[in-house]
């Protein structure tokens, strides 16, 4: 049985390919998922974003694409896991704690955009004046 979600490495590869579909020399940087080792990504959203990158590159002036992934809820609670290993590689202890981080919201990344086209779910759209 095949999982109905996209593997994270596949998601990253699809975004790379989407940016280069029209002009292979188009550069793309993907920021915001660097620390995630493994995840399943919602397939339909993956497809939508893939198409949006392709759409961005329709303009022949576009030479570079940046895909920025930011948490929707900007007050993020992470769980920290401090693990201690001995020389044989055995994990002898793991101590859990909370780590809160306040992260700039999407608006921080929009201040230089000439056009903003918000296609998120209705409840998630920002107020733009």
């Amino acid at each position: 049985m095949k999982c109905m979600h996209t593997k994270l490495p596949d998601f990253l590869a699809k975004m790379q390919a989407a940016a280069k579909r029209i002009r292979p020399e188009t550069k793309i940087t993907i920021k915001g998922l660097e620390n995630i080792d493994t995840a399943k990504v919602a397939s339909l959203r993956c497809g939508r974003i893939e198409e949006e990158i392709y759409e961005v590159t329709q303009d022949p002036d576009i030479t570079e694409v940046e895909l920025r992934i930011v948490p929707f809820n900007p007050e993020v609670i992470y769980s920290s896991i401090a693990k201690g290993y001995d020389a044989s590689g055995k994990c002898k202890i793991a101590i859990l704690d909370d780590l809160a981080a306040d992260i700039p919201t999407v608006e921080y990344y929009l201040t230089d955009a000439e056009v903003i086209d918000d296609r998120r779910s209705a409840g998630h759209k920002q107020t733009q004046l």
Binding site: F72, N73, P74, E75, I77, A100, D102, I103, P104, T105, V106, E107, Y108, L110, T111, G123, H124, K125, Q126, T127, Q128, L129
Partner: protein, 354 residues
């Protein structure tokens, strides 16, 4: 129609202020025939190339400091604006009136200050209710707004720039001075303030803790619960406060009603030192060991606080000696509000609020 507002601009107070912080009197919003959220959109439009924290205040309402002292001002909405934008979900938050509920004076003894002549009958605003917080804020979300790089936290008393990593504190007593053309003192918050802001009282819909149920941190506990680290939390950030003799009066009013520090009021360095010098009781044993570690770390010892002073100061002496009695914010510079605040008026463009 014009909207009047005040701003502590970045660079104010001899460069101490790291970001723009806007304050709007609700009366001026009503004069401009706007809602509070529309007023925020007007301010956002003023910041098309910059960013600011926004507090909307009611000068005819009351609120409560984190350690339980009632103040003659309330923040009724907060916002964060960045380059003309307000994040729809997290960028704005109203703070509704809290009606007097049955049992409030038993559950929240510090609220007896509401009976004082200067506060009686005035609407209370502290923290948001569930509707104010909206459907997307989760349990871990603080009473904070965020848009872009600007966060406005704890119902409008601390604001951050999350990119430049700068922050400022404006205490409620300072906001009161700012809105009434008084005076403020400004300096690095320092260890005593850092410890003090963690010494909270338990409230429903508090500015920092508590919802429909009472907040879990009771008077006598430290919400920071961080031992010797607590004194470092705000040690590098500028704080705007009222001159000490001004908030000394508010603390004395609270103590004169019979409220006890450590039992009914948070044992912040300011309050415990005031109670000690004034000769009013301190519930030494009700103050938790963890809270004592934090107090001792800023030189307030359990042993010293357990010994009554030989000759307590009178009210007049307390006010006269406020500077030496209230610890912290040493060498703060005093400013007339007109020297740190710009008063502005903006013509409201109907397109802005459409």
């Amino acid at each position: 129609m014009k909207l009047k507002y005040r701003v502590i601009p970045k660079g104010a107070a001899d460069g101490a202020m790291p970001l723009d912080w806007v304050f709007i009197d609700e009366k001026d919003i009503k004069k401009a025939a706007l809602t509070n959220f529309e007023a925020v959109k007007v301010i956002a439009n003023e910041y098309k190339d910059s960013y600011a924290a926004v507090d909307i205040v009611d000068l005819d309402a009351v609120s409560v400091t984190s350690d339980g002292i009632m103040n003659p001002i309330a923040v009724t909405a907060i916002a964060s604006v960045d380059h003309g934008m307000v994040n729809k979900t997290y960028g704005y938050m109203p703070i509704s009136e809290i009606p007097e509920y049955e049992g409030i004076f038993e559950d929240e003894p510090h609220m007896r200050q509401w009976h004082l002549d200067q506060f009686k009958g005035k609407p209370l605003h502290r923290g948001p209710n569930a509707k104010d917080r909206g459907t997307e804020r989760a349990g871990h979300n603080e009473n904070m707004t965020l848009t872009g790089r600007i966060a406005n936290n704890n119902c409008g008393s601390e604001a951050f720039n999350m990119v430049e990593m700068t922050e400022a504190l404006v205490f409620m007593s300072a906001a009161n001075e700012l809105m009434r053309d008084g005076e403020v003192t400004v300096c690095v918050a320092g260890p005593e303030v850092s410890v003090g802001i963690g010494m909270v009282v338990s409230e429903r819909w508090g500015r920092i803790f508590g919802g429909a149920n009472l907040g879990g941190y009771k008077a006598g506990m430290s919400a920071h619960n961080s031992g010797e680290y607590a004194k470092t939390v705000k040690s590098d950030y500028p704080a705007f406060a009222a001159p000490k003799e001004k908030f000394m009066k508010l603390m004395l009013d609270a103590l004169d009603t019979g409220l006890i520090v450590g039992r009914h009021l948070g044992p912040s360095p300011a309050l415990i030192s005031t109670a000690h010098a004034y000769g009013t009781p301190i519930d030494i044993d009700h103050i938790s060991d963890r809270a004592w570690i934090e107090l001792e770390s800023v030189g307030i010892s359990k042993e010293e606080m357990s010994k009554p002073v030989a000759k307590p100061y009178t009210r007049e002496e307390m006010i006269a000696h406020a500077e030496e009695i209230i610890p912290g914010m040493k060498n703060a510079k005093r400013y007339k509000v007109s020297d740190v605040v710009d008063i502005k008026e903006v013509e409201v463009d109907p397109k802005t609020i459409a």
